[in-house]
């Protein structure tokens, strides 16, 4: 009993110092002088625009990476092909790479001297310092989450149910929609939630490729940085708190999903 209490004290204490204290501090500082400065910062058109950019990037990335993640998981679990191990390892690359490195790599690729840059420039498409680069960076860093959630669920599921559906007359498409997808739905949702959280919070890669142009290519996280640099701390706090609140909402959503997933 005493040992269990000790264990609990250590884990809770650690979380308190490392996670909760900074979070509490930011909430405290934000509302220290009431709601007015918070509202002022959040209603600033530049801030509103920054949130819009973040939302556009997230709304583009999440569906793309969800579809890719599910396809990828299906390929890895169900198919045998050359380079499967490599694919499996590559999915995790964004987790291992520093976002700054990702940003730099994308920058080089789409720069005027890069492999793809000249082609896009030739077609009049501005990639770097524009929305496409922000979306590409966000996609890159949030690739693994859906696949990582779905792969173990698919493995556990096996393919007997799908084979049964096939003998009952279901086409490949019907099998996917009626058997596979409903069976992995919680894993997909869980992956989507994690992907969303990652997209909202992305900073490093986007910072390199977006150019951080106020009112144009500035995302919410970049806006925080911007406020800090000009010592307009109340603005930084306000935007940070909105981002933190979104993260907490995501967390709550996950805990709501988790027990259901276990019950199935």
């Amino acid at each position: 009993m005493r040992r269990r209490l000790g264990l609990r004290a250590i884990t809770l204490g650690y979380l308190l110092v490392v996670l909760l204290a900074p979070l509490a501090m930011i909430f405290y500082r934000t509302f220290e002088h009431g709601l007015e400065p918070v509202w002022a910062a959040l209603s600033d058109p530049l801030t509103v625009h920054a949130f819009e950019v973040t939302l556009i990037a997230t709304a583009t990335t999440v569906p793309l990476n969800t579809v890719f993640g599910v396809l990828c998981a299906l390929a890895i679990v169900r198919r045998r092909f050359r380079g499967k191990g490599l694919l499996n390892a590559f999915i995790d690359l964004p987790l291992a790479l520093s976002p700054v490195v990702v940003g730099l790599a994308l920058f080089l690729l789409y720069d005027r001297t890069g492999w793809l840059g000249p082609w896009f420039m030739g077609h009049g498409i501005q990639v770097l310092f524009a929305l496409p680069a922000i979306v590409l960076a966000t996609i890159f860093v949030s690739v693994p989450f859906v696949a990582r959630e779905v792969i173990p669920t698919l493995r556990e599921l096996g393919n007997e149910q799908e084979q049964a559906a096939a003998t009952l007359g279901a086409t490949r498409w019907q099998r996917f929609w009626r058997i596979t997808l409903p069976s992995i739905r919680w894993a997909v949702i869980y992956g989507v939630v994690l992907t969303t959280a990652r997209c909202l919070g992305e900073y490093g890669a986007v910072a390199v490729v977006s150019g951080s142009i106020q009112g144009k290519t500035e995302t919410a996280t970049l806006r925080v940085q911007d406020y800090v640099q000009v010592f307009q701390t109340s603005g930084a706090y306000a935007v940070a708190v909105v981002l933190a609140a979104l993260a907490v909402a995501v967390l709550v959503l996950m805990t709501l999903i988790k027990p259901r997933e276990e019950a199935v």
Partner: protein, 332 residues
């Protein structure tokens, strides 16, 4: 629908699951595919269903080549050992699946599902999820589901293998009766010879990916085509140079032509039958099955020396005489 399997072979890496198998399954029959694990029997069933593709050979359904046909176009019902229940659907939706994807009218589906649930005695369970059914109930649900679209062939892969003995016996009877009612060509895979003998009207015995023998249960028992079949279908004991059925052993108090001198180790009375454990001069143990009447007539006692012979003789493996050698090759 009749099934014809022609020279089918299938390998998984270095393992040969099926080696040049040819087998005909007549329309309306109830056939057991019997063999030990790894004998290729499940692979054969999965090839008939289209879930595996043979490396060579052909599968004909109703006389038409179906070798490359996708499973969903074969019109077969398949029952898996571990039920393969659709866990996210109720029993009703599971059973209705084949009809739902065929976009049949709702009313028709409802009626057909009710009819099937009655057939498998799951009327009260329509709205439950499979996780809340017992193993036997799940397997009955899987059977109803497989029958829903009126398949022309019903294939069952060790359907009772995961169930306990009592439920298994129940479902065997039930499958037998179902076949009498529905009369769909049925093939079931099993490793349990008793189950095969009890349920099927034809048995195909497999070993190491090869078809050893096919015939009626009594045929396999009385005239096994190989030592493997003799040992696998029913009990077999070695008497001198021969393999015989325990009930074919006759004990006498005097030596005779081909009789083996044995000592009685133990006598156990089992109702109408008795089991006599014997040991021969070389220390080999064997068991004879005698009727109580015989035992009492002979008035045998323990440690007594008697002479055992087998009637009728089954000499297996065949002696390498000209005629037998030919028969042996035909068995391959």
């Amino acid at each position: 629908m009749s099934i014809e399997i022609r020279n089918v072979s299938k390998r998984f890496g270095a393992f040969t699951a099926l080696d040049d198998v040819s087998l005909e399954i007549p329309e309306g029959s109830l056939t057991a595919v019997l063999g030990p694990s790894g004998s290729g029997k499940s692979t054969l069933l999965r090839i008939v269903a289209g879930l595996e593709r043979p490396d060579s050979g052909e599968v004909l359904l109703s006389g038409k080549d179906a070798t490359g046909l996708a499973p969903q176009r074969r019109d077969v019902g398949f029952v898996f050992q571990h039920y393969a229940a659709f866990k996210h659907m109720t029993v009703r939706d599971n059973v209705a699946f084949a009809l739902t994807i065929r976009k049949r009218p709702k009313q028709e589906i409802r009626e057909r599902v009710d009819e099937l649930l009655e057939l498998v005695q799951l009327q009260g369970f329509a709205d439950r999820y499979p996780s809340r059914l017992s193993g036997g109930q799940r397997q009955r649900m899987a059977l109803a589901r497989a029958l829903a679209a009126k398949p022309r062939v019903l294939l069952l892969d060790e359907p009772f293998g995961a169930l306990d003995a009592r439920v298994r016996a129940e479902l065997r009877d039930w499958l037998r009766r179902l076949h009498e009612e529905v009369h769909v060509t049925t093939v079931f895979v099993t490793h349990d010879q008793e189950e095969a003998m009890e349920v099927a009207d034809r048995i195909a015995v497999f070993d190491h990916g090869r078809l050893e023998q096919v015939g009626a249960p009594a045929e396999l028992y009385d005239a096994p085509a190989s030592e493997f079949v003799l040992r696998f279908v029913g009990d077999a004991v070695r008497l001198g140079p021969r393999l015989v059925r325990p009930h074919e052993i006759v004990l006498r108090r005097w030596p005779g032509d081909g009789a083996v001198e044995v000592e009685i180790e133990r006598i156990a009375v089992l109702g109408a039958d008795a089991r006599v454990d014997l040991v021969d001069g070389s220390g080999e143990r064997l068991t004879a099955r005698l009727q109580r009447v015989e035992l009492e007539d002979l008035d045998l006692v323990r440690s007594e020396i008697v002479w055992a012979s087998a009637e009728p003789f089954r000499r297996l493996p065949p002696e390498p005489s000209a005629g037998d050698a030919e028969a042996g090759q035909a068995l391959g």
